[in-house]
């Protein structure tokens, strides 16, 4: 009999019991799914994006369904840093699962400030830097698609936080490897990708956008093949671990990400449909490793068989 494979994953100094997280913005702040999902079986909980002050986000409609996908323009509502620490952190501290806080700011300074304060906060294990949310208007979008501002954000967060930091890459760039390398050079412990893909839908009868914010971000199975390509290029460009997300609904989708180079994955939209998708993905990865005689997730990571140079594009 094969020994139980090693499912653990490392993100900088943080070690995860398994490589399957829940993606930011799709799992609330933890308690929302606690009745349905066994939080102790998650690799990590990544909470909804947090910035300094409370924010309201966009008016509804905030989401619209598309073929095999979902466009969202939630607009980063949230309780703000203090609200998060007060309302949600006590609960999260009671769960023996690493908590990764997704952070964002309207300026580079705000990124630094949120990072510094969460770095000093107990119960927060790592910071994911959202530089790529297409739903906020004041500049944050630009952070993620321009190398110079991207670097400034990552450097600033690095300077003010000693916990693992994970810049989350925007998909709508032509050279994702350059952003991955920039993250590594600026001292990131890992990268995560992809954030949602900018998208839009129109009600042809009223001729109005279906989202109040006009533009949103596409997620779900529709974007999975796009994500696989970007993860392959990004992971191939750096030595730090890659956390992959985008359209995972089955273990196979997650395994695909691991094969092209991800060290861990996150389940997003699928949780809305099947709240226990992350559990099924963990079980499926374990089974796959056993069936293929692999001893660890690490043996699977980056094991794609191809003659091509991973950065050939």
């Amino acid at each position: 009999m094969t020994p139980t494979p090693d499912l653990s994953a490392r993100i900088g100094s943080l070690s995860l019991r398994n490589p399957v997280m829940v993606a930011s913005g799709t799992f609330g702040y933890g308690p929302e799914y606690a009745e349905l999902v066994d939080l102790e079986r998650l690799g990590a909980i990544v909470v909804k994006g947090i910035c300094l002050e409370p924010t309201r986000g966009n008016p509804p409609p905030r989401t619209v369904e598309t073929p095999s996908g979902l466009i969202n323009a939630i607009g980063l509502p949230g309780p703000g840093l203090e609200g998060f620490v007060r309302e949600y952190l006590p609960f999260l501290r009671s769960v023996p699962t690493p908590v990764i806080v997704n952070i964002w700011g309207r300026t580079v300074e705000e990124y630094g400030e949120v990072a510094a304060r969460l770095d000093a906060t107990d119960g927060v294990h790592a910071l994911e830097i959202n530089v790529s949310c297409p739903n906020i208007r004041e500049g944050s979008h630009a952070f993620g698609v321009r190398l110079d501002s991207f670097r400034r954000v990552v450097e600033t967060v690095r300077a003010r936080a000693s916990k693992p930091i994970i810049p989350k890459l925007a998909p709508n760039v032509s050279d994702i490897a350059a952003f991955a390398r920039a993250a590594e050079e600026c001292g990131a412990d890992a990268i995560s990708l992809i954030n949602s893909v900018p998208a839009m839908a129109v009600d042809i009868e009223t001729r109005r956008p279906k989202l109040a914010n006009v533009i949103g971000g596409l997620t779900g199975p529709a974007i999975h093949p796009i994500a696989v390509k970007l993860v392959w290029e990004a992971a191939g460009a750096v030595r730090i671990p890659t956390i992959a997300m985008g359209g995972i609904v089955s273990p196979a989708d997650a395994i695909e990400f691991l094969i092209v180079g991800a060290a861990a994955v996150a389940v997003g939209t699928a949780t809305f449909v099947e709240p226990r998708t992350a559990h099924a993905v963990v079980d499926g990865i374990r089974e796959y490793l056993v069936r293929h005689g692999l001893r660890s997730v690490a043996e699977l990571t980056g094991s794609l068989r191809t003659g091509r140079d991973p950065c050939g594009g």
Partner: protein, 265 residues
């Protein structure tokens, strides 16, 4: 709140286009309170990956019944369900209606499938009340026999006058509020399109009564995690006196004074 692999017991046509779907849901059915809903997974077609929320029309032991109208991608797929088919259910969800105060006359106001949200309430209330039903035409006036069987009085309005009075449901409601009520205080419970909810709320505010409105918003997760389903509500502590509430979690039922309507709603 539970996840359940439910199975279809039967599906049949109600009036007009409306349909009823009866599900075996032993974990969820016994826990449903009036005004709560279930979030239902469908045999996934390409263009409807999300679950859909449905009020629980009624429950009977392990059974849970839904009343719906095929409108779009999700509900058209639902029509194909038949006995024995599997249906993923998540529920019961939402706050539900409060029980009417013992000193009021419960008056329910429904438009279209809004009836589905109100029947469980009527059944739970010990005393009979009155129900106002509105719709475009006679076939939109659902569940009248069910309410009558509970001893409730039913007043009907249709826009084309094919059943009851011609006009909106507010016509018979206003008549009743003005004439029949005497010194009794009404307590209103409504489910239907936003303009109807708003009209009901306006009357309650003017009369100094309570009105509980069940709001319909497209949903993502159904459990409060995705922040899709927001409704503007009054919050004196918040800037400008309002905040977003999640219809799936803080709702779907709000007291009319808590709701901040937008222009055109």
């Amino acid at each position: 709140m539970r996840l359940e692999n439910s199975t279809v017991i039967e599906q049949f046509a109600d009036q007009g286009d409306y349909r009823r779907l009866v599900l075996h849901a032993p974990a969820i059915a016994p826990e449903v309170r009036p005004g709560q809903f279930v979030h239902m997974r469908l045999p996934a077609p390409a263009d409807a990956i999300l679950r859909r929320p449905f009020s629980v029309f009624r429950t009977h032991a392990d059974m849970l019944e839904i009343l719906y109208k095929p409108l779009g991608r999700g509900t058209r797929a639902m029509q194909r369900l038949s006995r024995g088919d599997a249906v993923g259910l998540l529920g019961p969800l939402g706050n539900g209606f409060p029980m009417p105060s013992p000193v009021t006359v419960p008056a329910l106001v429904a438009g279209g499938y809004g009836m589905a949200a109100l029947y469980l309430l009527a059944r739970a209330v010990r005393r009979a009340g009155i129900v106002f039903v509105g719709g475009a035409t006679a076939s939109d006036i659902l569940c009248v026999p069910e309410f009558k069987a509970l001893g409730w009085e039913v007043r009907i309005a249709t826009e084309d006058g094919s059943l009851g009075v011609r006009g909106l449901v507010t016509a018979p409601l206003d008549a009743w509020l003005a004439a029949d009520l005497g010194d009794r205080r009404p307590e209103l419970f409504a489910c239907g399109p936003n303009p109807m909810l708003r009209a009901v709320g306006d009357r309650a505010i003017a009369g100094g009564w309570r009105a509980w409105l069940s709001v319909d918003r497209s949903m993502g997760c159904g459990v409060g995690a995705c922040l899709t389903c927001v409704q503007k509500v009054r919050d004196p502590a918040a800037p400008d006196g309002w905040t977003w509430a999640r219809v799936c979690r803080e709702g779907p039922v709000f007291e009319c004074r808590d709701i901040v309507w937008e222009d055109g709603e």
